[in-house]
Symmetry: C2
Subunit: 239 residues, 2 copies
Amino acid sequence: MPSLTALRRSPLFTGVDEPTLRRLLASLSEEVWEPRRQLMGPAGSLERFRLIVSGRVKIVRSNSLDGRELTLWLLGPGDGFDVVSLLDGRAHEVSAWSLTPVRTLAAPLAVWSGWLRWLRPLDLAAHRYSAAKLREVEQLTTDLALHDTSTRLANLLLRHFDGSQPNLLHDLPQRELAAMIGSVRGVVSRVLARMQADGMVQLHGGTVRGIDLQRLLRRAEQDLAQRSPRAVQARGQHR
Amino acid sequence: MPSLTALRRSPLFTGVDEPTLRRLLASLSEEVWEPRRQLMGPAGSLERFRLIVSGRVKIVRSNSLDGRELTLWLLGPGDGFDVVSLLDGRAHEVSAWSLTPVRTLAAPLAVWSGWLRWLRPLDLAAHRYSAAKLREVEQLTTDLALHDTSTRLANLLLRHFDGSQPNLLHDLPQRELAAMIGSVRGVVSRVLARMQADGMVQLHGGTVRGIDLQRLLRRAEQDLAQRSPRAVQARGQHR
DNA sequence: GCCGGGCTGTCACCTGGGTGACACCCGTAT
DNA sequence: ATACGGGTGTCACCCAGGTGACAGCCCGGC
């Protein structure tokens, strides 16, 4: 049964022993989702907590009146949502969408809370997991405030192409990349083209297939040069 | 002893009974800091965890090469840092600076981890606290990606002038406000002047002294109007 | 084969807001 | 009284990147 191995590999269950895992699994119900469906809205964050078995899910904050939205986390197998509601039991203004076909294991939030309360290792894992999510969104915030879009895109690629396969970004359309760095499709397209010309990435039909780690790293650290007017002039035309 | 009441009021200790609080207090050492001092650097996040007794502290991510920095959290009495390192025991790329005179209670990170492990209520409070911090930085991220600077400033003010006194923003220089919304002093000055002219805020020597809740709220929800070209033209000249 | 949906490449246009600079103001230490 | 440090108001300049639009491509279903 593949669901069990999904549990075993999830960072949310590291340290939980095998018999317990099997016991928990019995209380989880499997769900299957098509791509581009909404798995959860703001209201739903208090109902069930879900663990991703396979496929990819984005957690977005779709804002206010104009349609723009920001992807806060890109989740894959082993990830769970919504963590924030799990931690404090309050509603959370986010929604979850499937990017690919997705299978999940779900249980009511109250059930998970109970597990957290009685299973020490699970509780510990939850601490580490929420810290990881904090770090991710904090990184995103920093990027948004302090870097230009091409640096943000470079950082995004570097974060995901660190050798871990399969890559969560694989074959994602440019619109999704844009939503992850707070930009728009057109700009991402422009920046990717530029990066390819500079040999930083290999593209295939507009989606990123490979990166040149060294060059991208240099790019990511280069934004001072971009910001300082002197330096920009010094390094020649920008066309 | 005022330190004890500080513990009692801290969200990190809600649910911990009085005798236990006194016991913990005995293991905490008091520290005093002058304004504008660095209480903690990236390296220090693994050494001691600190609880703020009085004064205000900012947690910043000062980035890369140019001097720009972003304030991730503005902390006051009852807050603790660094939470992320406390949760997963890894180093954290942030630093902490005092904005006012500050008194803290400190203990080595390992001691706190032990408390978390053995004191159920403390552990629960930590969950809720980290969730709160997650929500804050998530809000900041969303603002940065989806709103213009004046909307972000309006949101910042609304978040802090919700009646809770004393206000953490009180008398903070414009530079600090700017660091909290990912902008720069000049722009904050311009926006504040505009807001005062529109009757949204009352200023006193450049710092915010009062707000008109209703008008600010309207402003905060108005950014569609700002973004849509039609609407902008429709509402007349913009200076 | 043909159609349609969803993707990418690319353009001209325009503006929010960052940059750097300066003047001025006030409170404190010398 | 003087000087200075840190704050605010305000300006002219300019560019990164968002907007909206169009064309062209690929692929799967009929």
